[in-house]
């Protein structure tokens, strides 16, 4: 398995690995040193999930079209009511 950097992970990836990490710890039989490593991994994953959740922009833009209905590449902000 190729390691994905936590900072590159999608929310679902981070979330599912976080659950896995917790599951592993909860099952027990983890040597002390590994448990610390797992905990650190879990904390990092949690932070990633948090960041994804906190990042909640709501900009609304409209594509500007030419007379043939193709995009001009420009956008205009739409005022929200």
């Amino acid at each position: 398995m190729t390691e994905i950097l936590v900072s590159e992970m999608s929310f679902e990836e981070a979330m599912s690995e976080l659950e896995e990490v917790i599951g592993q710890l909860e099952r027990g039989n983890v040597p002390l040193e590994d448990s610390i490593k797992l905990y650190e991994r879990g904390a990092e994953l949690k932070k990633r999930c948090e960041k994804k959740l906190m990042d909640a922009e709501e900009k609304v833009q409209k594509i500007t079209l030419d007379k043939d209905g193709n995009s001009t590449g420009a956008v205009t902000e739409i005022e929200r009511k």
């Binding site: 999608s10 929310f11 909640a56 409209k62 209905g69």
Partner: protein, 493 residues
Amino acid sequence: MKLIDEDDKSRNVPEYGVSEISASIKSLIEGEFSRVRVRGEIGRVFTARSGHLYYDIKDEKSVLAAVTFKGQVSGLAIVPEEGLEVTATGKVTSFGSQSKYQLIVDDLKVAGIGALMAMLEKRKETLQKEGFFNEENKKRIPYIPNLIGVITSPQGAVLSDILHRLRDRFPRNVVVWPVTVQGEKCAVEVSKAIRGFNAIPVSKRGYRPDVLIIARGGGSIEDLWGFNEEVVVKEVANSSIPIISAIGHETDTTLIDYAADIRAPTPSAAAEIVVPVRVNLLAELRSLEARLINVIAKVHEVKAERLTYLFRFLNRPEELLASPSDKLQSISLRMPKALNYAIQAKRLNSESIMAGLRSNLLKNVMTIAQNLFDDHFQSIRRLIGSQVKLKRSTFDGIGVRLSNQKLKKNLESAEEKLEALNKKLSFLTNIELQEKSKRLQYKSQLLNNLSYRTTLERGYSVVWIDEKIISSKFNIKKEKDMVIEFKDGKYLL
């Protein structure tokens, strides 16, 4: 029979030239059928390179040729499709040059709702067969999209419904591609929008949506018809960006619903599908966080407990050693026996080795011992020899000092002494002897008087068993010999 038609006044049938009559017919037809509505089923359809659309409208017996010129095509409510029951409106014209007539259609409509539904069903089947609705081509909607593309009318309530719902659940960036959602332009514009979004390169992060919503509010089947058009359906199916279709109300189904990756019953529902509820996720994350903290605390608690437990053992080494100590004891008990076995085994082993060694080794050892012994014997002999010599010379010295006369003198006086002592002894012995013998005589007289024998003299007897005197009848043992002693001897009974 006349072969030549001559100008004959007797006949009143006028004569036409071909073009003449064609023109005549043309004007007659076009005058009579300048605006007609024809109902029939579409037969073959052919689009000429010029852009004109040629098709047949037929019933069971007849076929009517129909054409819609390039400039009129976009004005048709529906695109002619074989098998479709339609009402075509237009005028009939004739081609004099070919002796043909045709209906120039400027308005084409489906002949009733039943026919429209039948056509829709047929179109659906065809598209299905062509694989545009295949489940395996459906793409996964991202769990939390970064940018949501919405293809809809910028004016309607639909867009604001979607935006509101997004704000409630999980605010996201939205980019809108404005389209006409009704009428003939709808299908073309929606297709362009899908193509346009897909044309934004993936590298342009933040500009290319990672999910599309095609939305429209409710309406009649005709209002929604644009979303049944083949061109849109195919574009939806071919989009590399996943698409959620959200056309009309829950009961309205259009063909793009089948081609889309997810069909949302309403535009608001599309917003619910496209993003999760942020607060729920936050709560879930919090609970995971709590679990993580709990479990790590627990893990460490368990380890700490174990440490304490082990530490207690360290304080009491005897407990720690209890089991090894038991083992040691049992081993120690088994040890001597095992040792014996081992020794026996070794002995056997060594005997077999010795057997090989004995003759040679022993010989060597013997030789060495012999040599040693000889050496010692020699030196001892020498030593003894010298000792003897020494003693002898001492002895000789003493011997010289001892003279015969002195010895004789000593001997004579000793003999005299001895004789005197002898005399004295015999004298004393005699006196002693006489005295002792007198006392013996006296004692033996006394003993005699006191002895049972004097009683026997008087006529009594003694009974013996096993050399014991029987003094009671209870002591008599029948099986034993009884002896009676009288004054003159013993009698065995």
